[in-house]
Amino acid sequence: MNDHARWEDVAGAYVLNAMPADERQAFEQHLVNCATCQAEVDELLPAAEALPMASPPMLPPPALKDRIMAEVEREAALLAQAGAGADRPEPARPRRERRGFWRLSGWRLAPVAAALLIAGVLAGTALDGDGTRTIDFEGQATAQLEVDGDRATLVAENMPAPPEGRVYEVWLMPEGSTTPRPTDVLFTPRSDGSAVAAIPGSVDDVSQVLITDEPMGGSDEPTGELLMSAELS
């Protein structure tokens, strides 16, 4: 009962998504065992879910659809290429047989291209606190590599758009090598020049992260201009 008293009146704020994350989480735990609060949430939710309809109707610009569909079609093609092996934890097949070194690692695509750019999504979980180091990229944009353990995330701002028909690709230089390894991280910055991209896999044995512009769909070896690079060791 005492616990319920603490949450009295909070259902409205909950369905409006107007609670800080920690408080929201605590309320959700309370909801599991409180039929009264759950009933109130159920009652208020349809009103909250109707609220988007109060926005003045607008049409999205056609270019937005073009951008989204270009990305979706590219990922759908990769998914089709990966075929039945897409869900397996290890790569089922290399994209193209080349020198052994160029076999793509981590080329698994379901859930759809999990390692692709997740602009804005990851920004909310920007690394901070203990154990995180930030490395500045050198080159034509302001960007940092945030390294947490063996994981790294690229956080950029003021990035120029890639040339027409091209995307940026992330490359990893293995320790002791002079030949960069391709990743499946392909992206274009958002309209304000910002971008956030998770680097796939461990960066423990990586000496450098590089960004080049490449044709849509990416390349197996760099063909475009080096935009920037970060030294890990």
Partner: protein, 191 residues
């Protein structure tokens, strides 16, 4: 031989999206992008902000299509929920939150939807119904609901802004939504 995706219900189209069918995704985009963009624009206040949020939301939907659960509501509710969450993330990250809100009125770069189809016309009607329900609330209740839902502010931020106790703000939210719910009635606004 092929299925005409445009004749299928959203929930059935999502089965194809889950399998990585770009055409199925396009159907979902065409059906819901206007509502999604409208909400994003209302929350972000700028065209570029709305585009970013809409793009993030739809790409997230595409990449996580398998997570849609029809038992938890319609595809439209799901899409708009993703847009709302993305916009809130963007707003709460923003260091110019209050400044942005101050400039939210009198947006110049608006390009409103034309009534091109029956669907658009129906959406306008629904939109009018919800706006009327919201406008009919006592001002102190509609204000907190709008600040929370469209402004992305938390109840404590709103309490600070209005110099009102947090409990009062929460109470106004609850009462306002309750009244809206009864005004809208079940089934009048399809979500």
């Amino acid at each position: 031989m092929g299925v005409d995706l445009r004749t299928l219900a959203d929930e059935d189209v999502m089965q194809f999206v889950r399998r990585g069918d770009a055409r199925a995704f396009e159907v979902i985009y065409e059906r819901h992008s206007s509502a999604a963009f409208s909400l994003a624009y209302r929350m972000m206040g700028t065209r570029s902000g709305a585009e970013d949020v809409t793009q993030d939301a739809f790409l997230s939907l595409w990449r996580s299509g398998g997570r849609y659960d029809r038992a938890r509501g319609s595809v439209r509710t799901w899409v708009l929920g993703i847009v709302h969450n993305r916009a809130i993330d963007a707003l709460r990250r923003s260091t110019v939150h209050s400044k942005r809100r101050a400039g939210d009125e009198g947006i110049e770069e608006r390009f409103e939807a034309r009534e091109r189809t029956d669907v658009e016309a129906a959406r306008r009607e629904e939109s009018g119904t919800v706006r009327t329900a919201l406008a009919s609330l006592p001002a102190d209740q509609s204000q907190v609901i709008e600040l929370a839902y469209f402004g992305g502010f938390t109840h404590t931020e709103i309490a600070d802004m209005l110099e009102a106790p947090v409990g009062t703000v929460k109470g106004r939210m609850r009462l306002g939504l309750k009244k809206m719910r009864s005004q809208l009635g079940e089934g009048q606004v399809a979500l």
